[in-house]
Subunit: 92 residues, 2 copies
Amino acid sequence: MNVTYLGLLAGAITTAAAIPQVVRTYRTRQARDISIWQPVLLNVGMSMWLIYGLIIGDTPLIAANAFSIVCYSLLIVMKILYKEDDKSKSCA
Amino acid sequence: MNVTYLGLLAGAITTAAAIPQVVRTYRTRQARDISIWQPVLLNVGMSMWLIYGLIIGDTPLIAANAFSIVCYSLLIVMKILYKEDDKSKSCA
């Protein structure tokens, strides 16, 4: 298998990895156990990968990181939104 | 700034992003809101990135993905271990 395909497939899978967490958090409306710093750091790093991809003109890198940034931004928004729910639901 | 340094910095930050979640889950012993599929998919993708890095002989890619695989494997183990705790602690 051409090594480039391996890189593309690896990029696609690591990008898709954000989806189950976004879906779970949206469905359960619970994000208490999630550290906000993971999606925040990922977004910082992936924004740099996005700039890096734009500079070297690497389309898969641009596409993968743009998609991931959207997913992890959603996760950050939900983490903040559901914070109130987490407090009211926590076992008194 | 040399674009390679941008890539190295981006890789370091996205790699470090796993740490806050591992630390939080270890401290709180709670992983109920975490989807196990995120670390599982990330590990599959990053194992492929690791093989890709070995094939093209790219040390930063090898180091970043090896470190991340360790972090996300820890997260998977904790998600499984704390599953029992999650059940006993969930609000009846």
